[in-house]
């Protein structure tokens, strides 16, 4: 039973098994990385703050986001997806998370950055609870591997507060 077909089959199975094993080892190597990311977010300006016709509050703001996420990159990192979410509580909702800005960081060199931007996605409440609302701005990052398990973590920055009145 040493036909070409038999040998080809055995070889292919072996190759795929080794491929899976190498992928698993590559993924495991990521566990040895102990990252030390840092970030700061400032709200530069509240551009406007209105109650929309559908009854929900909406706000537009400009932020300054700085971060150093270089320590998240390993040789098994394909890219890092990073986003800033405003998180707050209301009477109706125990948790509201609204993504305000996101970016894809393709390489380690791009991971130390400074960005000044208005919110990319609309900051709309379910209702009109935003006046005087205290909220956190949390920087989340998702490390997407070339192969294996994704790593997710975040940095919570609290102490932000929305204006008392519409403007």
């Amino acid at each position: 039973m040493h036909s070409f077909g038999y040998r080809a089959n055995a070889l292919l199975t072996f190759a795929v098994t080794i491929l899976a094993l190498i992928c698993a080892m590559a993924s495991l190597s990521d566990n040895f990385n102990s990252p030390s990311p840092s970030s700061q977010i400032q709200i530069l300006n509240i551009n406007w703050f209105q109650k929309q016709p559908h009854g929900n509050d909406e706000i537009s703001l400009t932020m300054n986001i700085t971060a150093d996420l270089q320590s998240l990159f390993t040789w098994n990192t394909k890219q890092v997806f990073v986003f800033v979410a405003a998180e707050y509580e209301t009477l109706k909702n125990s948790l509201n998370q609204v993504s305000l800005w996101d970016a894809i960081i393709p390489t380690k060199e791009h991971a130390k950055f400074w960005v000044q931007t208005a919110n990319k996605y609309r900051f709309v409440d379910q209702g009109s609870n935003l006046r005087g609302k205290e909220f956190n701005l949390t920087l989340h990052w998702h490390v997407m591997p070339k192969t294996g398990k994704m790593f997710v973590d975040k940095l919570v920055m609290s102490g932000f507060r929305l204006p008392e009145e519409y403007r």
């Binding site: 039973m1 491929l19 993924s27 109706k92 948790l95 894809i104 996605y121 989340h140 294996g148």
Partner: protein, 142 residues
């Protein structure tokens, strides 16, 4: 590839036919897991929209969780898309609920799915393969 997909009950694996983001290139295997943990912003979820046969694998960008019932309403968006997924949802639907979501992506295995994709895109290869296997079975002296 039964032995790869042959994992714990709660983990399903799904083939990426369309590009999720630049992160998972065509032919990659995406491992899904559905736990009871609440859905949070940033997670990549798989969901079905009524009337569409292919499930969509996108990221959650907004979460609103009710105080009383604990139910969530989420909004998703593909990383590389300009706008959110509201255009993809059913007519008049603004949010996804828990029951729309089938799983969360937790890891990737690249290139593994190429064989199946090639066989689906170019069915002739499927016939050639089956023909060759059939030939092997007939001609092998066991």
């Amino acid at each position: 590839m039964g032995w790869i997909g042959d994992t714990v009950d709660s983990i399903k694996s799904i083939q990426i036919r369309q590009l999720l983001t630049q992160a998972v290139s065509l032919g990659g295997y995406l491992f899904l897991h559905m736990s009871k943990d609440p859905i949070r912003a940033g997670e990549i979820v798989v969901f079905n929209v009524d009337g569409r046969e292919i499930p969509i694998v996108h990221r959650v960008i907004k979460v609103h969780e009710r105080q009383d019932t604990g139910e969530v309403e989420v909004l998703t968006k593909g990383d590389n898309n300009y706008g959110d997924d509201r255009l993809l949802y059913a007519q008049g639907q603004l949010w996804l609920q828990r029951h729309h979501i089938m799983g969360r992506a937790v890891g990737f295995l690249p290139y593994v799915g190429w064989v199946t994709i090639i066989m689906t895109e170019k069915p002739i290869i499927k016939y050639i393969l089956i023909g060759a296997l059939g030939l092997l079975v007939i001609t092998s002296k066991d």
